[in-house]
Symmetry: C2
């Protein structure tokens, strides 16, 4: 995806072949700053301090962290220490643990002298695999946008709404929910995106708006409250969001507020799609509302907000009165009955056990709950 | 309603019997500042610059503006000029025009020498009538909260959710949606309020949280995205909002985002009530989504936000990236089918033509559309 005309991934090997570069996402949208990670500790800090975020990108950064550790010391002890220090950065990130397990499985069987080169190669492969997954999601979702364009008589832009940032900034490239949008845009299908601000952390206003703008995709930021009104008045052709976790039955846990948009889509006959890579499916869970624990985060994310002050500095201001409590629920669960379909790297399917099993037939015969 | 133990209205005659005092609501929630209005021009400025807001309070302020004008010059010309200058402050405010018409009707028939005293008396009566309406709404709504307390076995606080500010700050006292809450609290029924932040103008986080806190009502501020999750998990007993305009069939126009909460309430069996004074019923309209025009406001309310900086100053910061457009829809319409009931000064009724006519029988026989 482009940033003002120049193609970027969110993480890439620097010219020296040893260090990696990332975009410091904590500075977006007000500053575009790239940062060079030179050591394991740099990589751990980038994950911990959320310079990188999004499950796939966290996994990729951790993989390069292991590679840099192996470059400095390829011993078993160093490998174990790198794993431990990276695993501690974001305790609940599933992809992080997956990437570390994958790297360790590849490296443990090699002699120390062969590990550094193999680690860099495997980290690059993890990045490329993520790009391939997102590209496949994009290709499968592109048909939905193309069909909406045809349905509108090819006479007006396709109106897509999205929530939070399931964009290329959360992955290595393309994103999940955004991949069909970028592909449609690149193919010349006119697309306009309604970008939910996504309080409290404003990933929509801060990140999705920035990345769509950088690639030249027309978009309009709205408050999270506005989506129902737009759908009531026929101004949304389809909604596409990402997901943090999908149950074996097609319930979808995603950023808080997704459920409200799914209700509005259902009430107004607007198709509601969820884009996801296979690894976010939790085959052990059948009832999302009952069984997916919802993280409660620091209320300061609700009471305070950061933005660019008139003097150009990024400043945090308090919104709520002194003495008022706040609560901060990070995710909600959208029941499968409200989801029109899932867009995966293996194709489209219904948000149901049968739909998912049609694309993951190797899971057939394993009851939900049996893993 | 109290501010930290001291009873306040939002507007009151000063000790001199001639000037009036108000709370400067633009300074809330970070500063509690009262302002003295000494002239017609002061009153017009207070309305125009939104030191006072909320339809009933705007009407009351305009009435006192006319009174102060009559004190200075009780001529027909001065009365006409006062009306014109106040009517221009907020062109779309229905109560403003109603209060000005009412004052003119009372004063025009009097000799100039009798007008000042009569104007102050009528302005005071307009305030008292608003308080009586809100008190009646509170008394009718109190039964719902009491019933929820009993249904919960009197063992836990009643959980009420509200959106925007339909509080005493928008009226002269009590508020509309908040009136039942204050009355329940004063009666010793434990109540806890989930306060929607209400982006973009944050009337929930700025005003509702402040006024509930000042009166000692337990409350928690949440982002607008969170309500569906709370309802899914049984953490809301009832929702009460206000309304800017209600159709003859019970459709409700209210602050943007109300419709999304009504959908979530319906999906989870949570009663959704709307509190309203009779004058907000528009007997001429039958289809709210089709026929109520929705104001689009300046996008800067979406792109920028104000709060208290660490040094204590109130600062405005930009949230969105340079170059990203924003749209700002002020209201949405909640169809009557999603509204459990209406709480009016005449009692509770169904959100339907029949329900409203049962309380306003004098409207029977006049078809919607015939005014």
């Amino acid at each position: 995806v482009n940033v003002d005309g120049t193609p970027f991934r969110t993480i890439w090997l620097a010219g020296d072949g040893e260090t990696v570069e990332i975009i410091d996402q904590t500075r977006l949208p007000h500053r575009f700053v790239t940062v060079r990670l030179e050591t394991l500790e740099d990589a751990a800090h980038a994950i911990r301090a959320m310079l990188v975020r999004g499950a796939p990108l966290i996994g990729a950064t951790a993989a390069y962290g292991v590679a840099m550790a192996m470059r400095d010391d390829p011993s078993d002890e160093a490998l174990a220490a790198a794993r431990a220090s990276l695993a501690a950065t974001r305790p609940t990130a599933v992809n992080l643990r997956w990437a570390l397990d994958d790297m360790a499985a590849h490296l443990a069987k090699l002699s120390p002298g062969a590990r550094a080169e193999a680690a860099y190669a495997r980290a690059a492969a993890i990045c490329d695999e993520d790009v391939a997954i997102c590209r496949a999601i994009g290709e499968h979702g592109l048909g939905l946008i193309r069909a909406a364009f045809e349905a509108g008589g090819r006479s007006r832009p396709v109106e897509v709404m999205t929530h939070c940032n399931a964009g290329w900034l959360a992955t290595v490239d393309w994103g999940t929910a955004t991949a069909p949008i970028y592909m449609a845009h690149d193919e010349g299908i006119p697309v306009h995106v309604w970008v939910d601000e996504t309080r409290p952390r404003n990933q929509g206003a801060f990140l999705t708006a920035w990345e769509l703008g950088g690639h030249g995709v027309p978009h309009t930021v709205i408050v999270d409250n506005a989506g129902g009104h737009l759908m009531q008045h026929g101004r949304v052709d389809l909604m596409i969001t990402g997901t943090d976790r999908t149950t074996a039955t097609g319930d979808v846990a995603n950023k808080i507020g997704t459920y409200l948009k799914a209700l509005a889509a259902c009430d107004n006959g607007v198709p509601f799609y969820v884009a996801l890579p296979g690894p976010t499916i939790d085959w052990t869970i059948a009832d999302g509302v009952r069984d997916i624990p919802i993280e409660e985060r620091d209320p300061v994310e609700v009471t305070d907000i950061s933005g660019r002050a008139p003097d150009g500095t990024v400043t945090t201001v308090r919104l709520t009165p002194h003495g008022s409590a706040a609560a901060n629920f990070a995710f909600d669960v959208t029941p499968a009955r409200l989801v029109t379909g899932l867009i995966t790297e293996r194709g489209l399917c219904a948000a149901s056990a049968e739909g998912l099993l049609s694309l993951w037939p190797e899971r057939r015969g394993r009851a939900a709950g049996a893993g």
